[in-house]
C-alpha cells in the first residue's frame, strides 16, 4: 500500500489501483455521512478532485493519487458511508482505477514514510 500527503491510500493489483482515505484522515473527518464517488469511465489525472467525503459538519475533497480510468466505485458507500470510519483502509475504499503509469505509484510514500510524515503534523 502507498500513501499521499493528502491522506489517500492506494493498493495495487496488476494495473488496478484501489483508492481510499487513510485511518488518520477518517479520524480527522469524524463521522462520515455521505460519500460522492467518481463515475466509472471517468479519466482521472493525479492530484485532481475525484471524490467528496462529508461529515456532519463539512465537505472535504478527496484527490486522485494517480492517473487512470475509474473502473468501479464502491457501491456500499451510498447506503453505509460510516464504513469509511469503521474500515478506512479496507472496506471503506472509494474507487478502483486502471492506472496509466506505474511510476506514479512507485513515487508515492510507503507505510514507513507516511507514518513519518504523520509525525510531522
Amino acid at each position: 500500500m502507498r500513501f499521499t500527503k493528502d491522506h489517500e491510500w492506494v493498493a495495487l493489483d496488476g494495473d488496478i489501483a484501489t483508492v481510499g482515505i487513510t485511518a488518520y484522515a477518517a479520524e480527522q473527518l469524524g463521522d462520515v455521512v455521505y460519500v460522492e464517488t467518481p463515475e466509472p469511465g471517468r479519466a482521472l489525472k493525479a492530484g485532481e478532485g475525484m471524490a467528496v467525503v462529508e461529515s456532519v459538519k463539512a465537505a472535504s475533497d478527496v484527490y486522485a493519487p494517480l492517473s487512470g480510468e475509474v473502473v468501479e466505485a464502491n457501491p456500499g458507500l451510498a447506503g453505509a458511508p460510516e464504513t469509511v470510519n469503521a474500515e478506512p483502509e479496507s472496506g471503506g475504499w472509494f474507487a478502483r482505477v486502471r492506472i496509466a503509469d506505474r511510476a506514479e505509484y512507485d513515487a508515492l510514500m510507503d507505510r514507513a514514510a507516511y507514518d513519518a510524515f504523520l509525525e510531522t503534523l
Partner: protein, 371 residues
C-alpha cells in the same frame, strides 16, 4: 494548531485535558468536538445531558433609571413589561430593521437586565448599546464570568444536585441563585438545542470546579460546538452570521414572535416601517426548511431551485441531521415556496437533488413550560 492570538475561556485547560479538537471560533480557541465525535455528542444531548462551554458569548448587565426604554430603543420587545424572573429572546435592530445580533435578555433579579449576545458580535453590540444609552443607564460587561449550557432530558435532574433553587423554574425563567456550594449564579431555563436545559452564568474563578462537578455525573458528557450546530439546526434555531445578518429583518428570519404586540401597535422600533409592512403583506423572502430526500448534504450557499429548475432561493445553514438520519437545511426563498409539502431541488456541486419543504422545527422542541 491553535493560533496564539485566540482568547481562551476559563475551561480551556479542561477541554485540552479531555482531548477536545480545538479551533478558532468568535476569536476564542474553542472545543469543536471531544473524542466521542459529533454524532455521539449530539445523540447524548438528545437522550441524557450535554455540557457546553459557551463562555465566548458576551454577558452584560443593563441597569439604571430608564433601562427598559433604552433597551426598547434598539429592540422590538416589550421590556418594560418583562417581569422579574423572566427571560426574552430579542434582536438588536439597525435603522433599516435589519438584525445586528440576536440575544437573550433576562430579569434574574430586580436590577434591570442580564443580556447574553453572540461571541462574534459582542464588542460591536456592546459599543452599539453604549453609544445609545441616556444618562443614568449603564451597561456593565461581565468579562469575569463564564457561561455553561447544560442541555438534555436529564439536565434538570443533574442540576438539582448542585443548584437546588432552580426547581420552580419553567422555560424562559431566569433567576439569580446560588449553587455549587455558595457560588452566585444567573440561571435560565433555556438553550440552543431544542431540549429542556439551562444556561448558567458563574464567576470565571469557579468555572473549572463547577465544570468538573457536573461532569462527575455519569449522565453528563462535554459537547463541542460541532454538535451544538447540528442540534440547533434540528431545532430550527437560526445562527447569527449565517441565517441572519444585518440585511435580514425579523419577519424574513421567521422571528416575528420577537416583535411584541405592544411594540407593533406603537411602531416605535428601528426599521418599523419596513418590519410592519412585511408583517401586513408578505416579505420578499422568507425562511424555508428543507428535508433532503436523496443525495448530498446541502450546505450554506447551495442554490434552491423550483420544480422547473429555476433558481428560487439559497441555503443559509445545512448539514446532516443525526437524529433524523438524513440531511436538512434552512434558507431563504419567496414565501409562496415555503409552505410544507412542496417538492424543490438543491444544487450541490453542479447536481440537483430532490428536497421537500417541511415545517420547523425538524425535531420537536421539548421545553418544560410547567415544571
Amino acid at each position: 494548531m491553535s493560533e496564539p492570538e485566540l482568547k481562551r475561556t476559563p475551561l480551556h485547560g479542561a477541554h485540552l485535558a479531555a482531548g477536545a479538537r480545538m479551533a478558532g471560533f468568535a476569536g476564542y480557541d474553542m472545543p469543536i468536538q471531544y473524542p466521542d465525535g459529533v454524532m455521539k455528542e449530539h445523540a447524548w444531548t438528545r437522550t441524557s445531558a450535554g455540557l457546553f462551554d459557551v463562555s465566548h458569548m458576551g454577558q452584560a448587565r443593563l441597569a439604571g433609571e430608564g433601562w427598559a426604554a433604552a433597551f426598547e430603543a434598539v429592540t422590538p420587545g416589550d421590556f418594560a413589561a418583562l417581569k422579574p424572573g423572566r427571560q426574552k429572546y430579542s434582536v438588536l435592530l439597525n435603522d433599516e430593521g435589519g438584525i445586528l445580533d440576536d440575544l437573550m435578555a433576562a430579569r434574574p433579579d430586580g436590577e434591570g437586565l442580564f443580556i447574553v449576545v453572540n461571541g462574534a458580535c459582542k464588542d460591536e453590540d456592546f459599543r452599539f448599546l453604549e453609544a445609545r444609552l441616556p444618562a443614568g443607564v449603564r451597561l456593565t460587561r461581565l468579562e469575569d464570568r463564564a457561561l455553561f449550557a447544560l442541555q438534555g432530558p436529564q439536565a434538570a435532574a443533574v442540576l438539582a444536585a448542585h443548584v437546588p433553587g432552580f426547581v420552580d423554574m419553567a422555560f424562559m425563567d431566569s433567576s439569580a441563585i446560588t449553587g455549587f456550594g455558595g457560588v452566585d449564579l444567573i440561571v435560565s431555563r433555556s438553550g440552543y438545542t431544542g431540549e429542556d436545559g439551562f444556561e448558567i452564568s458563574l464567576p470565571a474563578a469557579e468555572a473549572a470546579r463547577a465544570w468538573d462537578l457536573l461532569l462527575a455525573d455519569d449522565r453528563v458528557r462535554p459537547i463541542g460546538l460541532g454538535a451544538r450546530d447540528s442540534l440547533r439546526l434540528e431545532a430550527g434555531l437560526p445562527l447569527y452570521g449565517h441565517d441572519v445578518d444585518p440585511s435580514v429583518s425579523p419577519v424574513e428570519a421567521d422571528l416575528s414572535f420577537a416583535i411584541s404586540p405592544s411594540r407593533r401597535r406603537r411602531g416605535d422600533f428601528p426599521g418599523a416601517a419596513r418590519i410592519l409592512g412585511e408583517l401586513s403583506s408578505a416579505p420578499s423572502r422568507a425562511r424555508i426548511a428543507l428535508k433532503v430526500l436523496e443525495g448530498a448534504p446541502a450546505r450554506e450557499g447551495a442554490v434552491i431551485v423550483d420544480g422547473a429548475g429555476v433558481e428560487a432561493g439559497v441555503v443559509t445553514s445545512g448539514g446532516f441531521s443525526p437524529t433524523l438520519g438524513h440531511p436538512i437545511a434552512i434558507g431563504f426563498a419567496p414565501p409562496a415556496l415555503c409552505a410544507p409539502g412542496r417538492r424543490l431541488g438543491v444544487v450541490v456541486r453542479g447536481r440537483t437533488w430532490p428536497v421537500e419543504t417541511v415545517a420547523l422545527p425538524f425535531v420537536p422542541h421539548r421545553y418544560v413550560r410547567r415544571p
